[in-house]
C-alpha cells in the first residue's frame, strides 16, 4: 500500500508511481482540476460565515476514477456543485478540460443518491432529458437512449414509468441519463447509497465497466470505504470542516473495471483499514471508554 502526501500540483510525479499507467507513457490530460478552492457560506441565523472548504487543490486525469471520502459536512458535495458549475467558489478556481468553470457546461454531468427521475416521463424519456435540453435531434437522442438502455439491460422497460421500477433499476436509469449527454467527467455523489448491499455491488460493477470502456473520468463521493477502494484509482481523504484534503492514497490494485473481482483481493482490507484510521472511525468511542475507566 502506498500512502503519499498531498502532491496534486505535481502530476508528473504521480504518474511515475502509478504502476498500471507506466506501461503506456502518454501525455497526461487533466480533465478536472480544483485549484486552491475555498468555500464560505453565510451562517444560518445571520452573523458570521462558515468555511466549508479550505484551500482544496487536486486534479483528476483523463480516464481516472478518484474517490473523495471524509466525515459528514466536510464539503464533499460542495466540491461537486463547484465542479458542475452550479455554485461558484468563494476563492480559487475549478477547471474542466482545461477551461475555467464559470457555470454549467456540457462536459460534466452529475448523479446523486436520489435518482431524480421525473415521474411523468417514461424510462426512455427520462434518459433523454439531458440531450433534449441540450437540443440534440430527436432521432439522435432516441437512438442514444435506446443504446444506453440496452447496455444496462433495461431495453424491455423503456416504456415503463419510474414508479414501476425497483430502486436499483431507477439508479441505472439515472446513470444512463448521466451518460446520455456524453460527458467527459462524471461527478457522482453517493450514487448507490440508497440501494441494498447486493444490488449495490452489481451497480458498482456496471459503473466500473462503463467508465472503463467509455474511458470516462469520474469523481466519486462516497461514505462506503470499500466502494472507494474497489472503484477508484486514487482515494482522497478529507478532514472535518473546514474540509481540506489530508491524504491521497493510490490504489495500486488490478481490476479497476471489476470491483467484485477486486473485493476478492485481500489488499482491499488494508486500504479500508488505513482509511478507517485516517477518518478516526471509532476513535471517539475509544477515548470515551478510556475516560470512563479512569474516572
Amino acid at each position: 500500500m502506498r500512502a503519499i502526501g498531498l502532491i496534486t500540483n505535481r502530476p508528473a510525479q504521480q504518474s511515475a508511481i502509478r504502476s498500471d499507467r507506466c506501461l503506456r507513457p502518454m501525455p497526461e490530460i487533466v480533465r478536472l482540476e480544483y485549484r486552491n478552492v475555498t468555500m464560505r457560506f453565510a451562517e444560518t441565523g445571520g452573523r458570521g460565515t462558515l468555511t466549508a472548504l479550505k484551500n482544496v487543490s487536486f486534479a483528476v486525469r483523463d480516464g481516472e476514477v478518484v474517490s473523495l471520502i471524509g466525515p459528514s459536512g466536510c464539503g464533499k458535495s460542495t466540491l461537486l456543485n463547484i465542479g458542475s458549475g452550479l455554485s461558484a467558489p468563494s476563492e480559487g478556481l475549478a477547471f474542466v478540460d482545461g477551461e475555467k468553470v464559470e457555470g454549467p457546461n456540457a462536459h460534466v454531468a452529475f448523479m446523486l443518491q436520489k435518482d431524480l427521475l421525473l415521474p411523468w416521463r417514461t424510462v426512455t424519456e427520462n434518459v433523454m432529458l439531458g440531450v433534449e435540453i441540450q437540443g440534440h435531434a430527436t432521432v439522435e437522442r432516441r437512438a442514444r437512449a435506446q443504446q444506453l438502455l440496452a447496455n444496462f439491460n433495461l431495453a424491455e422497460f423503456s416504456n415503463h414509468y419510474p414508479h414501476q421500477l425497483s430502486g436499483g433499476m431507477r439508479q441505472r436509469v439515472a446513470l444512463a441519463r448521466t451518460l446520455a449527454v456524453d460527458p467527459h467527467v462524471l461527478l457522482l455523489d453517493e450514487p448507490f447509497s440508497a440501494v441494498d448491499a447486493q444490488t449495490r455491488m452489481v451497480l458498482q460493477r456496471e459503473l466500473a465497466q462503463t467508465l472503463k470502456h467509455a474511458g470516462k473520468t469520474a469523481l466519486l463521493i462516497t461514505h462506503d470505504l470499500s466502494e472507494a477502494v474497489t472503484l477508484s484509482d486514487r482515494v482522497l481523504v478529507m478532514s472535518h470542516r473546514p474540509g481540506t484534503i489530508i491524504e491521497e492514497i493510490v490504489i495500486d490494485l488490478p481490476h479497476r473495471e471489476d470491483p467484485i473481482a477486486r473485493r476478492h483481493d485481500l489488499k482491499v482490507n488494508d486500504f479500508v483499514a488505513h482509511l478507517m484510521d485516517r477518518l478516526d472511525i471509532g476513535h471517539d468511542t475509544v477515548v470515551k471508554q478510556a475516560a470512563g475507566q479512569s474516572a
Binding site: 452550479l86 415521474p119 435540453i133
Partner: protein
C-alpha cells in the same frame, strides 16, 4: 388479490345501489308516513311531475343551460387566472412577499358577499355571476400551484441547470409538469365551488339560471320547484367534478394506482 379487489368493488356497488333505492323509497313514502305536508317535503313523484312541468312551461333547460354556461366560463377563466398567478408568484418570491397580504385578505373575504356589488356594477346579466365564480375558483387553484412550484425538489432544478437548461426549459420540463397533481386537486375543489358562486349570483339578482328558478319557487312557495332546482344544481356540479376527474386521469395517468383511488 385482484379477486378480493373485484369482490370489494362488486359488493360496494351493490350496497350503493341499495342505498339509493332505500333513499328514493323513503323520499316517496316517508313524508306520507310521517305526516309531513307536501309543501314542506314533496314526495318524489311530485318532484318528478314538477320536473316535467318545469321542462314544458318554465324553460328548465334554458335556465340549466345558462347556469352551465356561467359555471363553465367562471371555472375556466378562474382556473387559468389562478394557475397563471400561482406560477408567477411561485417563480418570484419578491412578488409573493409584496402581494401576499392582499391575496390573503381577498381569500379570507367571503367571495359570495361580492355578488350584490357585482350586480350593482354590471346589472342583471350573466357577468356578475361569472365574476363571483372566477373569484371563488381562483384561490384554490392559485394556492395549490404556488405551493407546488415552491416545493419542486431543488436537486431536480439543479439537474436541469447542470444540463444547461434555460429558465423556460426548467419551467416547461420540470416545474410545470410537477405542478399538475396539486393543480388538479385545486381544480376539483374549484369545480364544485364554481357552482356555489354562480348560484349565489343568480339568487341575488337576474331572471335566468337555476338560482333564479330556485328563488322563483321560493317566492311562490312552490317547494317541488325548489327541489327540482336543487337536484339540477347538484347534477351540474357533479358533471363539472366528473369532467375534472376524467381529465385528471388522462393527464396524470403516470401516477401509480390512480384508477383504484375512486372519486
Amino acid at each position: 388479490m385482484s379477486d378480493a379487489r373485484n369482490t370489494q368493488i362488486r359488493n360496494g356497488t351493490l350496497a350503493s345501489v341499495a342505498l339509493l333505492i332505500i333513499f328514493l323509497a323513503a323520499w316517496q313514502w316517508g313524508p306520507g308516513l310521517l305526516n309531513i305536508p307536501s309543501f314542506v317535503v314533496p314526495p318524489l313523484s311530485m318532484v318528478v311531475t314538477e320536473f316535467g312541468h318545469a321542462w314544458q312551461y318554465d324553460h328548465l333547460m334554458l335556465h340549466t343551460g345558462v347556469t352551465v354556461g356561467e359555471v363553465l366560463a367562471g371555472f375556466i377563466i378562474g382556473s387559468l387566472l389562478g394557475a397563471l398567478m400561482g406560477y408567477l408568484l411561485g417563480m418570484s418570491p419578491t412578488a409573493e412577499f409584496a402581494l401576499s397580504p392582499y391575496i390573503l385578505a381577498l381569500q379570507i373575504a367571503p367571495k359570495v358577499a361580492f355578488a350584490p356589488l357585482f350586480i350593482l356594477w354590471m346589472g342583471f346579466t350573466v357577468y356578475p355571476k361569472i365574476l363571483v365564480a372566477i373569484l371563488i375558483v381562483f384561490f384554490p387553484v392559485m394556492v395549490n400551484v404556488l405551493t407546488s412550484v415552491r416545493n419542486v425538489d431543488p436537486d431536480l432544478i439543479n439537474l436541469a441547470r447542470a444540463f444547461k437548461a434555460t429558465r423556460a426549459q426548467i419551467f416547461w420540463k420540470i416545474e410545470f409538469p410537477s405542478s399538475m397533481p396539486p393543480m388538479f386537486a385545486g381544480l376539483r375543489i374549484g369545480s364544485t365551488l364554481a357552482v356555489v358562486g354562480v348560484v349565489v349570483g343568480e339568487l341575488v339578482g337576474g331572471n335566468k339560471g337555476l338560482g333564479y328558478l330556485l328563488s322563483l319557487g321560493e317566492g311562490q312557495a312552490d317547494t317541488p320547484m325548489v327541489f327540482v332546482s336543487i337536484v339540477m344544481l347538484t347534477l351540474v356540479g357533479g358533471i363539472a367534478y366528473l369532467g375534472v376527474i376524467l381529465t385528471e386521469r388522462q393527464v396524470l395517468h403516470y401516477l401509480p394506482a390512480r384508477a383504484d383511488r375512486g372519486l
